[in-house]
């Protein structure tokens, strides 16, 4: 009776394995379903960013850089290859300007994609 039960349990395992769909997806031919909270590419809301530099100070991977030309002119640069996608910049930002989308960051053969200017603010007063 025990041997019969054991053989029966093996049969149910075999049927399960035949019926279940595969666990893997055929990326990149199939679209990848990522959860909303997935920490993907960095995006910025330019209206909210004031160039304070808190995100730069707390980034552990030196993935952000703030270039200040004068008191009102600055450029915030992001390096996707150095970034660790940890989310520390979005937590340190007091104005919730910088955050993650859930887009997967793919590899690229274009070297210019490795330097992304997130916000550039020119001086509005002339003369």
């Amino acid at each position: 009776m025990e041997r019969l039960k054991k053989r029966f349990s093996l049969l149910s395992a075999i049927i399960d394995a035949l019926i279940e769909p595969p666990e893997t997806v055929g990326y990149p031919f199939t679209k990848l379903e990522l959860p909303e909270t997935y920490r993907g590419a960095i995006v910025i809301d330019p209206e909210k960013c004031t160039g304070c530099g808190l995100c730069v100070r707390d980034c552990p991977a030196q993935g952000l850089e703030l270039v200040k030309k004068s008191r009102h002119e600055f450029k915030l640069i992001h390096y996707p290859a150095r970034c660790a996608y940890c989310g520390q910049c979005s937590i340190s930002c007091r104005r919730k300007a910088i955050s993650h989308s859930n887009q997967l960051v793919g590899s690229t053969s274009n070297p210019e994609a490795l330097v992304v200017v997130l916000k550039e603010k020119e001086d509005e007063e002339q003369g």
Partner: protein, 361 residues
């Protein structure tokens, strides 16, 4: 008398997940002893931590180990919070404990797959790693990353759980429990696994104490230590769970301890989700830490993790000392190798559950 030859294992070898160099002396089929060299993954994290501020260090410390990353950052954050004199909200404590238990589940299922693969039962390996994906899916859905969670901040955690996520966690844990019970049933009744692990490399409780070994290896030899019960970080002082020990000390006891701990961790996850209080999850912490020294210990999947932190009043720590559990388990390997057969070497290595990145830092 057959000739005595030395076989090198490592630094790169199919048996090892991480680089480790061993030289094993054998004579025929009997192993006579061995020696070992660490340091292939040494990154100097203790030294690097002195050159970064406390917030950057949370993410540096996470990269000490890939499998037990959350427990390292949890211990470090509790140490910094002890120096700052702040207490984090209760909901954050529960979320930290939830991630710790999920990490224990994923680590033990990973270990189960490795042991089964080394013994030759590859189907158990496939099933265990398939079930492990469920726990990684939970961690990805709530924190944003499968392995690098970045869950901890100084002052709390970086995410909150809403009702939909809580429901998803409960249902996934319930499915995972069914799968894990099936795996436990197979382990406890599979004769091939018994034959390969029973009586292999027994370790006495006295040897455990002399080599200062911690974690499931110690509990498998009857030494009853578990820092979740003996020196609990909040909220473990309010949670009920069983500490699993076995007395034999051989590879079979080590297998049973880890497998049954997975079941206890699943129960703990349910308890944590049931008792989680409401509230906020992050309090703002000052950037400069007042001078002082703190020591915090916690229980990683492999044993005791110890952090000593000293601050000198600036934004960077003055000294971070990390002690990881695998370091003492590695020092016991030459003694364990002294009386086994060559075919038992993978079983002994798998029973220790090596995490060389932890040991090297």
């Amino acid at each position: 008398m057959q000739n005595r030859i030395s076989i090198p294992i490592g630094p790169q070898h199919p048996l090892l997940k991480e680089p480790l160099s061993m030289m094993i002396d054998i004579s025929g089929e009997k192993v006579l002893g061995g020696s070992m060299r660490l340091g292939y993954v040494h990154r100097g994290i203790e030294r690097l931590a002195e050159q970064r501020n406390y917030i950057q260090n949370v993410l540096l410390i996470e990269r000490v180990c890939g499998i037990c990353s959350h427990v390292h950052t949890t211990t470090y954050c509790y140490a910094v919070e002890a120096l700052l004199g702040i207490e984090i909200p209760p909901r954050a404590q529960y979320i930290r404990a939830l991630m710790c238990e999920l990490e224990r589940i994923h680590s033990h299922l990973l270990w189960l797959g490795i042991l089964a693969k080394h013994v030759g039962l590859e189907t158990i390996f496939m099933h265990a790693w398939h079930d492990r994906e469920s726990s990684l899916d939970i961690m990805e859905a709530i924190s944003g990353g499968r392995v690098s969670h970045a869950a901890n901040q100084i002052g709390g955690v970086s995410f909150n759980l809403d009702k939909a996520q809580a429901e998803m966690i409960r249902s996934t844990i319930s499915n995972l429990r069914t799968q894990v019970e099936g795996l436990l049933n197979v382990i406890e009744t599979e004769p091939a696994l018994h034959a390969r692990t029973q009586g292999v490399a027994p370790v006495s409780a006295e040897m455990i104490r002399q080599y200062c070994v911690v974690g499931p290896i110690a509990r498998a030899s009857g030494v009853d230590i578990d820092l979740r019960r003996d020196d609990p970080l909040p909220p473990y002082d309010q949670l009920e769970f069983k500490v699993i020990t076995h007395a034999d000390g051989d590879a079979w006891a080590r297998t049973l301890v880890r497998a049954q701990e997975t079941r206890e961790s699943l129960n703990l996850c349910d308890t944590i989700m049931r008792d989680m209080p409401d509230g906020e999850v992050l309090v703002r912490a000052p950037r400069k830490v007042p001078p002082g020294e703190a020591i915090i210990r916690s229980e990683a999947p492999r044993g005791e993790v110890f952090y000593y932190l000293r601050s000198d009043g600036s934004e960077n720590p003055a000294r971070v000392k990390i002690r990881t559990p695998t370091l003492s388990a590695l020092s016991m390997i030459p003694a364990q190798l002294a009386a086994i057969q060559v075919a038992d070497i993978p079983v002994v290595l798998a029973g220790i559950d090596l995490c060389v990145a932890c040991a090297d830092r």
